[in-house]
Symmetry: C2
Subunit: 248 residues, 2 copies
């Protein structure tokens, strides 16, 4: 295993940060590395808002579900799928009244994937520089308020946040499903996940017991059943349509 | 700039491959590195199908828009957003008739982002091992046929493909938007992109001229206008709903 792969295998989410700021040069290097990820047809349909203002971070920590580390991390990156900049850039070349397809499900996928690929590259760059990161899906909890607070325009939406900063304590690494549960050969095999998933239930049960001094031991499959039946962020479809996405 | 960031900055898409196979151990290492990417609530809602069968690769190269490198790469990875495995795993813990939210826009985003983060980690691992990669959005051109061909079940869909193999010739690196076009400070600033975008039009015009011996020089903003007004993959919304996604 080379050093790069070793670093990827070392990833863990960091939720406790040293307050020292991320220098401007590091931030730019992290974002520039993000930009080098692949992008569909070179549309580069994402933006990132670097939030360092303490009052804004405080508000965001409330809006994301009272996650203290959103406030305590020195920089909170809000990764947006963004077809707004693209539409503005293209405007001068469009016939008046021309139909544009930024509102299609396809364009939504393109922008969302572009944002995710860039963010993951940025995460790896940050980790290689000694920073810790944590993705914050809670940015979608009260997404309309977040969008207003940060002035995010139509045809753009915050996909997730990301805390970045120097870790101030070691954090644990959660085991993943066995490779065989996610890797199929030539064709999708719906049966093949079963054995590895059962094995993973045992792995996660052991891990949870160890991390909680025996207090928790819920199998992964039960946690997933709880996740699936929780009416989580059901406002998203309406919000996205209001933003101009997913119309056709 | 450390070595990892330097590697990220060196990324370029590879479309011409040496036919030698990717050894099984390397494939597993690439996928395992993918699995270490962050995942929302540990749902790990993605799968990857490693296509090495020559006949299947040939069919896929046609279905993705006659892209020869889909056939000529030694392994073609089909990255799927996958809430099917999760639903199956959870089943034993669900009350009969329990409402599950795999069909929400929120769950669709979770699965799509999970797939993208894992794929980007895998791409970086592959590149660090000397392989070249190329994302293939064309997997969505005839997505229903691709899904049938690969036996992809409901509540799963192929987000993109990825050619992997040893590069057999050097490829060029497309410049990206200036950092300032994508990086906002504390709040989204719709105006700030304009200067950097105009600068990028010049950069890309120069780059295109250089790559095509002066034959092409279309500014990026015009290419984006063409992209926006092309009715691209408008079947996606209906396809996704048929697959059980985006119902609410």
């Amino acid at each position: 295993m080379n050093e790069m792969v070793a670093q990827l295998m070392q990833h863990r989410s960091v939720r406790s940060f040293d307050p020292s700021p991320v220098p401007e040069a590091d931030l730019r290097e992290i974002v520039a590395a993000g930009q080098m990820a692949s992008t569909s047809s070179n549309v580069q349909a994402y933006s990132v808002i670097a939030v360092t203002d303490p009052a804004l971070k405080r508000e965001l920590s409330v809006l994301t579900g009272n996650q203290a580390y959103v406030e305590s991390c020195p920089v909170f990156l809000v990764w947006c799928a963004d077809l707004n900049r693209l539409s503005g850039a293209a405007e001068a070349h469009l016939e008046p009244g021309a139909d544009a397809y930024a509102d299609s499900a396809e364009s939504f996928i393109v922008a969302t994937v572009d944002a995710a690929l860039a963010a993951q590259n940025a995460a790896i760059a940050a980790e290689s520089m000694g920073y810790g990161i944590c993705y914050i899906g809670g940015i979608r909890n009260r997404i309309e308020e977040v969008s207003n607070l940060l002035g995010i325009p139509g045809l753009a939406y915050p996909v997730f946040g990301m805390c970045v900063g120097l870790p101030d304590q070691p954090s644990g690494q959660r085991p993943r499903l066995p490779v065989e549960a996610v890797l199929h050969r030539n064709r999708y095999d719906a049966e093949k996940g079963r054995g590895p998933v059962a094995e993973y239930d045992e792995t996660m049960t052991r891990y949870l017991r160890m991390r909680t001094d025996g207090r928790k031991s819920t199998p992964w499959t039960r946690i997933m059943a709880e996740w699936l039946t929780r009416p989580n962020r059901l406002h998203m479809l309406e919000y996205l349509k209001k933003r101009g996405f997913l119309k056709r």
